[in-house]
Point group: C2
DNA sequence: GCGACAAAATCGTCAGACAAGTATACTCGT
DNA sequence: ACGAGTATACTTGTCTGACGATTTTGTCGC
């Protein structure tokens, strides 16, 4: 994109914009897993000072989107099977609480419904370029809306961090390409229905199943890739 | 204290030690809620450069131990009723998942048992100076051990953040002073027993009750303080 | 070919400086 | 005397530049 004209810096500041931009590049897979991100490189690419770049990398590291230890350069993490299981266990913990809470008052978040519409639209033109990315976006938006509707700042904060890593793995494995997006849409619809019916147990059950499916897709994709690059 | 002789910096680095020190001062209530923490003040108190102090404050802000908006001085947050409810809702979400998981395999974490012993010891000499602080420490350690035993890095990370804020409020309200610590000890024991019995439902029930009690103590303490400083 | 030493790259921390925004205090008009 | 607008001081955001420490890489000798 247009990299040199002054950025449309949304919020207040340089640091924020830099962070958002690098974050996007990571979760969208533009920066491959295992790739090294030095402070100098970031500073150079964006024409900012090294301390600014440093702060950016530190923030991303805190969110799990980068790994680095003292005096070593940051790298985009390549999540293994244990990571994915751990990630989905944490995710399930948070989202279970969310859907149960919503179901208790039969509150169907309008934002989630909107995300569903976007997902259906994206599912329509699977051939189109960038359709994959917008599917992932819509999927993330759906789950995000579910948690946001609970109204708990801290739950949302935790979920945001987790979804960041989820987004990262999805971008890396492109698991959505190997499955029919309409299945996901239908599972989402079922969850919304259970919430609307005021049935917390059912909502949790369906959610757990949905997440299990997603985790399974990621794991099988992981194994496939591993077996391909085995002859080293 | 001795500010000029090089610090006995425990871990790797200056930043880390600074962060730990300031964090402790905040959660222990040495820095009162509402108190302002300028970068310059921290830099001066610890004889470090301002960027170092800045990074420290940013980290603490990310953890919810400080609040600040752009171009405004960081302050130690004074949590209101909504905050406490939100905090305990999130806490319950995480710890429920933990005890349920442990109970499913009837795994009683040795660390938690050890924390219980420490708590009993601290409960013995309520009169002693600093006994209150060690009670809180032991309490935190117990719940921390529970979650750590699950073995989920991400769940532990989330819990760590939440416990930071819990620690903060406990230090501020000193709620433990108004209650018999042995009650807390017994509730902990009950939870451990349910885990050992392999009864996830019971463990979750007892945990929820335990957290409800704790939240209630904090809220009543909050109301008491508010009514005292009402005539403004 | 392998291990040890030297060189390069990178990070951690610091000092100093300027711009920009916020909050406070002061002045002026009514 | 009091309120409103402005001016000043304080604090933060960002940059430039630099030095020591540590990790990594590359080379040399055995």
């Amino acid at each position: 994109m247009d990299g040199q004209t002054s950025f449309p810096l949304g919020p207040s500041s340089l640091t924020e914009a830099l962070y958002e931009s690098v974050r996007k590049r990571i979760v969208n897979g533009e920066i491959a897993p295992g790739e090294k991100l030095t402070e100098i490189r970031i500073a150079g690419e964006y024409s900012v000072a090294r301390p600014t770049a440093k702060a950016c990398l530190e923030r991303l590291t805190a969110l799990g989107l980068l790994r680095r230890s003292t005096h070593k350069t940051a790298v985009v993490p390549k999540l293994d099977e244990d990571d994915i299981r751990d990630l989905y266990f944490s995710r399930e913990t948070v989202e279970r609480a969310a859907v149960a809470t919503l179901a208790r008052t039969a509150t169907v978040p309008p934002e989630a419904v909107r995300a569903q519409a976007a997902m259906k639209a994206a599912a329509g033109d699977t051939a189109a370029n960038g359709a994959f990315a917008s599917q992932v976006e819509a999927d993330i938006a759906f789950h995000s809306a579910l948690v946001a509707a609970v109204g708990s700042r801290r739950l949302s904060r935790m979920h945001e961090v987790i979804l960041g890593e989820v987004h990262l793995t999805m971008g890396q494995f492109q698991a959505h390409r190997t499955t029919h997006p309409m299945n996901v849409v239908h599972e989402h619809d079922d969850i919304l229905k259970a919430i609307g019916d005021g049935d917390p147990e059912q909502a949790q059950r369906l959610l757990a199943h949905h997440l299990d499916q997603a985790q399974g897709r990621l794991l099988s994709q992981l194994h496939r890739e591993r077996s391909e690059e085995a002859p080293a």
